[in-house]
């Protein structure tokens, strides 16, 4: 079976400093794949290179058989490789409804389509009551739900999530990760970058661990959870 996304020998550098040093990733259809690691490991840089926010300095990013390395972000998202950026990044001066509309554009229109599929509101029922409120008035958890819903509006073939649980309380973290599991069961392929190692590995089919821009470990999520070195380095002593 061919991977949906096949990244090989990817390098990203900022002004001569390599943030990502020759990493390779494979994502197969219907999987949740995670990239974990400490701050500054190169996780977000990898994701941003995949979605064209940064141009990789070398390497291949093959998505559905096409090498998209170096494409602009707006061209990549039209191939339905959709990123939900770190920090939830909403348009604060737009309403929840309008923020959802912004996810509609990937289908190649000059104007934004003004529609919200019913299934999106079924997945995120809390947004239904807040459609006409300003996005800036949402709590962190609600904003994350909106960011996720907006990502789904673009009908992604591969959804890339950058730190979706960052700054959320433990209940909300659980809710977001549960939601990812549900979306995977519905057939969505997800690549998630997370610092929340334990809970992410629990829901991941496959995981990569980055350290200083290098791949230091990879394997099935549950296998890595049992790796004593990983537990010691990233999760801490003892399992809760």
């Amino acid at each position: 079976m061919k991977p949906l996304l096949n990244v090989s020998s990817l390098k990203v550098n900022y002004g001569g400093v390599y943030a990502v040093k020759k990493i390779s990733i494979k994502v197969y259809e219907g999987q949740i794949v995670s990239i974990t690691g400490a701050n500054g490991a190169g996780k977000s840089s990898t994701l941003n290179a995949l979605t064209g926010i940064y141009a990789p300095s070398s390497g291949e990013i093959v998505f559905r058989g096409e090498n998209i390395a170096g494409f602009h972000a707006h061209r990549i998202v039209k191939r339905r490789l959709v990123q939900v950026p770190e920090g939830r990044h909403l348009f604060p001066n737009l309403t929840v409804r309008e923020n959802l509309f912004t996810g509609n554009h990937c289908l190649g229109r000059f104007f934004l389509g003004k529609f919200i599929p019913e299934n999106i509101l079924n997945i995120f029922p809390m947004l239904r009551d807040r459609l006409d409120t300003s996005a800036s008035s949402l709590s962190g958890g609600q904003a994350q739900m909106l960011a996720l819903a907006r990502g789904l509006m673009a009908q992604p073939l591969l959804l890339l999530l950058d730190e979706p649980t960052l700054g959320l309380d433990p209940i909300m973290v659980k809710e977001v990760l549960n939601l990812l599991s549900i979306l995977r069961k519905q057939g969505l392929t997800i690549l998630v970058v997370e610092q929340n190692v334990r809970q992410t590995l629990e829901i991941s089919d496959y995981a990569y661990v980055l350290e200083s821009g290098r791949m230091v470990m990879e394997g099935r999520g549950t296998e890595l959870l049992n790796d004593s070195m990983l537990v010691k380095s990233y999760i801490g002593f003892g399992k809760s």
């Binding site: 972000a73 707006h74 990123q83 348009f91 554009h105 190649g108 300003s134």
Partner: protein, 301 residues
Amino acid sequence: MLNDYLLTVISNIGMISLLAISAYILLITGEISFGQQAYFGISAYSGAIATTLWGWPFWVSLLFGSLLAGIAAGLVSALTVRISGLYFSISTLAFSEMVRLFLLKFSYQKEIDGELLGPNGAEGFGGIRWIFDNNISVFQYTLLIYLILFLVIICLFFIERSGLGMIFRMIGQDPMLTRVHGINPVNYKVFAAVLAGFIAGLGGMLYAHSFTFIEPQIFNVMLGVHSLAYGLIGGLGTVFGPLIGVALDIGLLESIRVIHGYRMIVFGGLVAIMLILMPRGILDEKRVYRLRLALRNWLHV
């Protein structure tokens, strides 16, 4: 009946509102232009040449001048679209000064009815007599200005409520996030610039025929700064925002003769205060949103 002075103030508000709306369109896409007066001037000169020297009908000349302004704005935007922030602002300022300096040297005169007419460098361009030749009263011309302003506002009102308006605001708030949504800001910024140039052009052409005399000095940087300030005072949440700014400046500060001499001091202070207290103006996005909600509830009740 309104006296001529009041009518002149009212018509001036209408024409400058078009320039303010033009700067506002760029402001909502996140760009500060100090050069919209250039397109106002380009259309004023070209439209006046068309009616006065070539004998073209008014409406054709209005369209000609405004299209020329829109095309010029599109070309400038296409060249500068990849720069933003301060660099973009400086480039618009440089272009507007280029236009003004060009007009100072530009001479194109023809003898019409035994009189030499047309732009003549620093001496300006007088004898733009379309309203006299067609027996149009000041009142009628004011109505014409407000008809055009009304049409522009209606068009922009619908654009703002459409997906296109939303894209303009997305680009203004976060260009990179906009790209992540599959939108190439470059195309939309150029489109916004053409639209803004065209609307400034409408104002410029109307201005030339209202005052019957224009000179390059009218289209100096202060006109651009004012047009920008109108949006910042009135608010960036709706197209009606810049109109409030114009009404406050021209309608209030310029018209009240007691403070006339101190207008620039009061206006400058007002801009400074507004930028501190209400950085996105009186009718900013949040207030517009609340007003819209209140209106909807009221209509629902």
